[in-house]
Point group: C2
Chain length 238, copies 2
């Protein structure tokens, strides 16, 4: 922890190089589903649109390729990755269960140190969830509201991941992050997930507070299995 990576908030103002900003910009475009799956991502076109040269675009694309959001064919260019099929969805959940359950196992002994943070994240998630359901009763749900809710949900899970203290597990989870976001976006319909997620998060919080090292593992597994089940319910309604 002494040489840890806690300095995530101060990346030297604007000292990240153009390639990182281009990466963020294209990532936003992809995550907001502004482009159809399979659509070509022309290097030159993107360069003109973002008012930069092809080189930083090219670097950002290499990085994006690793997230699974774009596919590359040598000498043919990049394309928006096709949507996740049922098998990929299943494998994604399997991978998430593996990572989060293991993270819970590692974090459980040190529950006391991060319980306040987890409690706070849970309350924030609960609040954001209420805003979503309120908006749903009124009809349209602003994109910003949905975005905030996803962020809050992700933050809750990240508290546990970070508490596990394994940088490789953290990296793996971050890699799956983009695909997870895309998956959630496609399965947002229905208010059920919001309320049930809050209940399950509460159960996870209680499990960590109980002191029993095996309870959080079971609670977390139940949560992700619950998300999976609710996703499958909605997926036929394409």
């Amino acid at each position: 922890m002494a040489a840890g990576l806690s300095d995530r908030s101060v990346p030297d103002i604007d000292r990240r190089g153009l390639r990182d900003r281009v990466y963020d910009r294209i990532l936003d475009i992809l995550l907001s589903s502004e482009m159809e799956p399979g659509a070509r991502l022309s290097i030159d076109t993107l360069a003109k649109q973002l008012k930069v040269s092809p080189t930083p675009i090219r670097e950002a694309m290499v990085q994006l390729e690793r997230t699974g959001l774009v596919t590359r064919e040598a000498l043919k260019g990049y394309r928006v990755a096709p949507p996740l099929g049922p098998e990929q969805l299943d494998e994604l959940f399997e991978a998430r269960i593996m990572l989060e359950v293991e993270a819970a196992r590692l974090a459980a002994p040190r529950a006391a140190s991060f319980l306040p943070a987890l409690q706070q994240a849970h309350e924030h998630h609960h609040l954001m969830g209420e805003r979503v359901t309120d908006a749903m009763r009124g009809g349209e749900v602003p994109i910003r509201t949905i975005h905030d809710y996803f962020d809050a949900d992700n933050a809750f899970h990240l508290v546990i991941l970070d508490a596990a203290g394994n940088r490789y597990v953290q990296d793996m989870y971050a890699n799956l992050g983009a695909l997870t976001h895309r998956m959630r976006q496609a399965v947002i319909r229905g208010t059920s997930d919001v309320s049930e997620a809050a209940v399950e998060h509460a159960a996870i919080l209680e499990a960590f507070a109980s002191g029993d090292p095996s309870s959080p593992v079971a609670a977390l597994r139940a949560h992700i299995e619950g998300v999976r089940a609710r996703s499958l319910d909605d997926s036929p309604g394409t």
Copy 2:
């Protein structure tokens, strides 16, 4: 695997783009420990050495950054990553255990389909191991021999990973591959690991053959824990 449609014998000879070949070349340099940790990896210098322009070098570096073998500081360039410390080594083993144990759990029910391949991989690994021990008795061990042994060892594990049928787990394992290779390189001393690894691999093979779904999980866990223990024995002798 099932969705593949481009299994022609020689579909893309030399059709991988310069960036991929540059990546392989630099990866070889890094894995062979020709450069000291912390040494600068100058874009221009590498471009001149490899007789290419900076652009493909730059793309390959972005890719290498994700393997953990090089570090990047914006506006300051790339450097060879520092050697793995004790904590990182521990976390790396934790991550590998998580991945491989889960892979074994997923693969166990389909053991019959990949048992022959696993058997063959085991025999090859055993053979390569004998070559290493033979060479050790004679004094020097050729680099090629060590390389072949590592490949055989890795191939054995890959059979199980592939059998798990989860592309995300496979990707994660591949990401850890470079670091794992570097770790093994630093802990190669001692012939004990070669013979013990063969014994443990045999146990894994038997566990899969037994049909009991929980045996392979335990055997695989025992194997990696064994590797970890032997690594710790050698690490003080830096």
